[in-house]
Structure formats: C-alpha cells, structure tokens
C-alpha cells in the first residue's frame, strides 16, 4: 500500500514535469544538478575538514554548532517551502482504507526528498569522522552512523510536525498574513543580528551552550565524536534517542490534527458579510479617468487582488520585509555613508517592485486560472487586458512606495520629500522595463496560482528564473542614472539620464506588448491549458 502511494506520488510529479514540456524538464534537471552539485561540494568539504587529524580541537568546538546549523536549516525548510512551493497534502488519501499510521510513515518518507541536501552534508561529515583516527577512525562504525540516523530522524519528524502546525495556522483567515509575516521575520532575524554585529559578539559565548550534550545537536556531536568528557557516547545516544522519540510523538500528533482539520471551515469568508462603501469608492476611481472596458478590467483586478490572501501577504512583505532587510545597512550608513543608505527609499521601492512580480505582473493571469479565457472570449483586444493588469500592478507598486515612505517617516529615518519623489520616479521607470518583461513571461510561461495558499510560490519556475535573470538588466538604465550623478555630482545629469531611460523604457514596453499580444494569439490554447491545470493527487503546488 505504501509503495503504491509513493509510486503515485512519483508518477504525479513526473507527469507534472513532462507536462511543462521538454525544455521545462531540461530546465528542472539543470537546476537540480546545480543545486545538488553545490551540496555535494559542501559535503565533500565537510568530509575533508572532519577527516583532518590536525583539526581535532576545532572539530570538537564547531561540530555541535554545525549540527545546530543543520537543525536550524532543516526546521526552517518547511518555512521556506511554505513560501516557495512543494508541499504534500495527504488528506486526499483519506477516502481510501489506509491506516493513519501508514499515512504518517508516507509523510516522513516523502519528506526525505525535501531535505536530501542535508543528508548529503551529514553523510560527508560522518565519512570524514570515520576516516579521522583522532576520533577512533573506523572503530566508530556503529556509533557515528547511529548518531547520524537518529539526528536525521529527529529532524525529519520535528519538521513534519512543524510543517503541519504552520499549515493549519496559515489556513486561519484573518490571522494568516500576520502569522506568515511573523514567520518571515523570524527567518530574517539571524541576518539582522549578524549585520548589526549583535550576533558576532555573542557567537563565541554561545558555542559552549550549543555543545551541551543535553541538546539534540550536542548529543549527536558527542556521539559522533565519541567524546568521553561530560557524558559518555552511549548516554549521548540515549539523550538523542529521547529527543527523537519526543519528535516522533510531536510529529505524529500534529499530523493527526492536520488530517482532521477542516481547512474549508477555517477559510470561510468573514468579510463576505461586510459592505465597505469607502473601499467601493476607491475601486471605482479608475473609471473616472479610464474608458470601459479598460476601467472595468482595472477595477476587477483591484478588487480581486485585495481579496487574495497570497497577494496581501506579498504586498505587506514588500515594505515590512524590505525595511527589515535593508534597515541594517541604513543604520550602519548613518555612521559611514553608502550608496544604499543614501538612496534607501529607492532601494526598498525597487525591492518591493521585484517582490510584487510573482503575484502581479510576472504571471498576470495566474490568479484567474481557467477564468482567464474570458479575456479571449469577450470582444476585447488582449493588449487591453494586459494593459489593465499593468495599470492595476502599477497602482499597487505606487501604494507600496507610499507605504515604505510612511514607514520611513514613522521610523524617523530622515527621508526628504525630494527622495520620496525620486523613489516614485525611479520605480516608475524601472517598472516600464519589468512590466514589459512580465507581459512576456505571463503569456509564455503562465501558471495557475492558488489564491488561498499564502504559502506557495508565484509563476512557473522558468518565469521566475527569467525575471530573476532579467531583473538586473531592467534596473541597468536606472543604475546608470545614479552612476552619472555620482560621477558628475550633478542632479541635471541624473535627470537627463533618467529621461533617456524613461524613453527607452516606453519603447521597450511597447515592443514587449506587441510581442506578448502576438504570443497570446498564437499560444492561447496552451496558455489556457496551463492556467486550467489542477493539482495532482498528492502534490499541492
């Protein structure tokens, strides 16, 4: 039974990949080779380091910290996957007579595929230790693998439990954006501490704490190294086994709660009963200046996006996450002036512009799904539909900048009105290039997006890859303007280069639109097929 489930999972993933075409499959293979190649390289480095006889002291000091790092990555991976993709929905198997404990086993087995890189790393370190005579060499053949297996099992089951817990929290309407944002900020916190120098000062003091054999990573390190100080390896293995048993109980408890959880009830709309006349007036604003059907489409976009949890999360992240990421630099920049601190608002605005790509212009029809066919069925040129979506995206981009400017003002970061105007101008010019690229990716690499899942990713892998690669190119004209201002120390030169960038941006946007319209005409069948594609038997995005 378990084999049948795993086979169905494998087949569904295979079919999913083949469906995106041969080039898509090749792209996935290249990405996988690069990703696992990188981790294999890291595993080889870990193997070399742990095998070095002369590094005994350093290995004893740093292995527990390294295992703590592995633990942190492993537990943050569910969080990362909550924002980027792969998640499993075993509730689809509840209709079959499969014992619940078997489903939990399947969950654990499937989770192994989501952390193969860490298993590579641990294997590399374990082989290195077995080769190192300073730690007993091959005499540790029972001890080292046992510690690795227990540590891996502990992490797997704890991660499964946390994943289920997060999924349930994120499904609760009203609080999910706040929870998701909190989780993101927790993810960013270590970087913030490092950049501010706070963590650097503390790491030295924290190392002995990490090595405490009563922590799972400390116990694993004790057992792997065969240390006789503090507790014996057998006792360390027992402590680790205890942690693993606790993780099993927690993981299974959360998994069972997840199976019984009524996601639909949690997602029931509370707002549906409310009428919001003020918001209604705001939605109607585009019709004051735009003709129909353009204004009808812009209105529709504004309403839909505001009601889409995943969009709201990214919008909120655009200024809060952006501020948190770039704030350390501006704080440091108060002491030593840098390019980022001098143009902080523009940098955060451009970052927000990039972030919004995944839920707006990078995959314009994503949230529409099969309903996107209306744009091809109604007597409206597809260029109008794309333009309407671009206008709606631009409105949100400018709202984002306004929010960033308001946050900066509240934080008393000393942002002038000139800098605010400059941020609007620079972002508008960069947006011309990015909207053009976004229109092309929207029709060439469309992908249906689930509006409810705040946790999943944006466009197709290729669309995101294209945007990621072209983003620096799109920013180049704006960057040249800043470079000119720096080189000539002259505002007039800056605005002259910006004017040229804007003219070029308009031309590129227009050409990209022509090309996108032509692609939409020729590819409408495959666009709609991609947008109508449902979720597989177990893989949920």
């Amino acid at each position: 039974m378990i084999r049948a489930i795993l086979r169905a999972q494998w087949l569904s993933m295979r079919i999913f990949r083949l469906a995106s075409g041969r080039r898509g499959a090749l792209f996935s293979v290249i990405v996988a080779v690069l990703w696992y190649g990188f981790w294999t390289f890291l595993a080889a480095v870990a193997e070399e380091l742990t095998a070095a006889r002369g590094l005994r002291m350093q290995i004893e000091t740093w292995l527990p910290a390294g295992l703590l790092g592995v633990f942190a990555y492993w537990q943050l991976a569910p969080l990362a996957s909550a924002t980027m993709g792969a998640s499993l929905d075993l509730r689809k198997l509840l209709v079959y007579p499969v014992p619940r404990r078997s489903l939990f086993l399947v969950e654990i087995l499937l989770r192994i595929t989501t952390c193969a890189e860490l298993l590579l790393l641990l294997t590399g370190a374990a082989i290195g230790l077995l080769r190192n005579p300073a730690f007993g060499g091959w005499r540790g053949l029972a001890r080292v693998p046992l510690a690795v297996v227990l540590f891996a099992a502990f992490n797997l089951m704890l991660a499964a439990g946390l994943r289920n817990l997060i999924e349930r929290l994120l499904s609760r309407k009203g609080i999910r954006e706040a929870i998701a944002l909190l989780l993101m900020l927790v993810g960013v916190l270590p970087r913030l501490l490092m950049v501010t120098g706070f963590a650097g000062r503390r790491i030295e003091h924290a190392l002995p704490t990490a090595a405490n054999p009563f922590w799972p990573w400390g116990a694993a390190a004790h057992c792997m190294l065969g240390l006789s100080t503090g507790v014996r390896p057998v006792a360390a293995a027992a402590v680790l086994a205890g942690w693993t048993a606790a993780a099993y109980l927690f993981g299974r408890w959360q998994f069972m709660r997840g199976l019984r959880f009524d996601f639909q009830a949690a997602q029931a709309t509370v707002a549906s009963a409310k009428s919001r006349p003020f918001a209604e007036r705001l939605y109607r604003l585009p019709s004051l200046v735009l003709p129909d059907p353009l204004s009808a489409m812009v209105e529709k976009e504004l309403r839909s996006l505001v009601r889409t949890p995943r969009f709201r999360l990214v919008f909120v992240m655009g200024f809060s996450f952006g501020l948190v990421v770039w704030l350390p630099m501006i704080l440091r920049g108060r002491v030593t002036h840098s390019a980022v601190s001098g143009n902080f608002l523009a940098v955060v605005s451009l970052y927000a512009l990039f972030l919004l790509a995944q839920v707006t212009y990078g995959n314009s029809f994503g949230f529409d799904g099969s309903a996107a066919q209306l744009y091809f069925l109604a007597p409206v040129a597809i260029s109008r539909a794309l333009a309407a979506k671009n206008i709606a995206a631009a409105i949100f981009i400018f709202l984002e900048i306004a929010a960033v400017a308001a946050a900066c003002t509240l934080l008393r970061l000393g942002i002038s009105s000139g800098q605010i105007a400059e941020a609007f101008l620079v972002t508008a010019i960069a947006a011309l290039y990015l909207l053009g690229i976004g229109n092309l990716s929207s029709v060439n690499y469309p992908r249906h997006m689930n509006a409810q899942r705040v946790s999943a990713g944006g466009g197709s892998g290729r669309a995101q890859g294209v945007l990621f690669l072209l983003y620096p190119v799109a920013l180049l004209p704006v960057f040249l303007a800043y470079l000119a201002r720096y080189a000539f120390d002259n505002q007039a030169v800056f605005y002259a280069v910006l004017a040229c960038a804007a003219a070029l941006g308009v031309a590129i946007y227009w050409m990209a639109m022509e090309s996108a319209v032509s692609a939409a005409r020729n590819r409408r069948e495959s666009i709609l097929a991609e947008l109508s594609r449902g979720e597989g038997p177990m893989v949920a995005e």
């Binding site: 129909d292 069925l377 007597p379 509006a451």
Partner: protein, 251 residues
Amino acid sequence: MPDTPAIAVHDLRKLYGDKAAVDSLNLVVPRGCFFGFLGPNGAGKSTTIRMLTGLVPPSSGSIELLGMRLPDRELEIQQRIGLVPDESLLFDRLTGAEFLEFVGRMYGLARPTAVERAQSLLDLFELREKRKLIAEYSKGMRKRLAMAASLIHHPDLFLMDEPFEGVDAVGARLMKDILLDQVRRGATIFLTSHVLEVVERLCDRVAIIDKGKIVREGSMDELRGGTESLEDVFVRLVGAGREFHELEWLK
C-alpha cells in the same frame, strides 16, 4: 431573420499530434434553432465548442458564425455570442454582482445598464447574497451565474457545454424556460449535454459525434424514427460492445 445560418462549419479538423480530436466535421445550424450536440466522453464536443468560440484554432477547415467568418471578424462575433463553457470562467474573488457587472461592461454595456441588468439577473437566478464571493458558491450556483453572465449582453447565439450540470431541479427548470424563450425571440442555441431526456425535450435538431466524426444528424423525429427513444438511438450508435458480463469477479 437573416438567410445565413447561425453556425456553418466546413471540413473542420483538430489534430493533437497524429490523433484527430475532431475529424472532417460538417455542420449547419439554422438560426432560431435549439441544437443538441451529443456524444460520449472524449468524442470531441468540447473541442468543437472551443473551436467555435475561437479559443482553440482548428488544424484545418472553416467556421462561420452568424454569417461572419472566424477568425477574420472575431471581435464582432464575440460581441454576439453567449457562452457557458465546461470550465469555469468565473473570477472567484468577485461577488456575483461584481462579476456580472464586469462581464456586461466587457461586452460594451454602459455601467448603469450593466449594474441594472446584473441585479435583475441575480434576482432571477436567486443569487441574492450580495457580499458572497464566487469562491464560496456551490457548483450549481456557479453554473447559474455562468448562465446569467451569458445572457447579460443579449446575444444572438448561445454556445453551452453541459449548462445543467450540478444545477438543482428548480434552477434547471428556470434555465430551460429562459433558453426556450430565447429561441422564441430568434436566438440560436448550441448545447451539449449528457442528460438525453433534457435534449429530447428541448432540441429541434440533434447531431451525434463519436471519435471526432458526426455519426448522425437530423431533426428529433428523424433520429428517433417514431419507435426509439433518443437514448436508444444514442447507445446503439456509440455505446455498443461494452461487455461487463465478461468480468467474472464483478458478479
């Protein structure tokens, strides 16, 4: 009423690789006709409708709707078509009223007219929960809303793929009455359905498609030949050779 037929399809083909989903299809549907387009699953019905709407380009052949050639006069044709497709064309994050208003404006109605018609249609189809998002609609409510959306611009030709699927008896009765009324005013309806009793009661003419080819076409009386029901004719033409008795373990 103009002389040209509502639908004129000549030698229409749609190939997926070397497999023909629709093969040499010839079809003429007169104006003011309630036309039933039947076939088993995978016969090519939905592909045909998608080609008629312009969503799927044919591999070869020609399509004329309301006397205009597709795709040359695509926008003019789209202006006069009402569609209920098999896949949802509803935007889940809008309310029913917002969606109907949006569709009306997409088809060129002035906003006050679109709002007014949207309200009338919501009342007619009993979709009065004003603030409820479409995402929360049941399957039957979604079909009723899709039907309402197809009516809002008062089209001359309706293309409908399983419009009654998931709709309760009361809703289905209402939809049938509205469609019959549309035919009486001169509109043409091209409908696919697996509920043969409905087709038998509503349609003037019927075509049966199997494996991409039309296997029989004619008026309802011609098809039934006076003795058989539509179901008998349909099963005889496309359903033979399914011997479940051979499966011993199923007994």
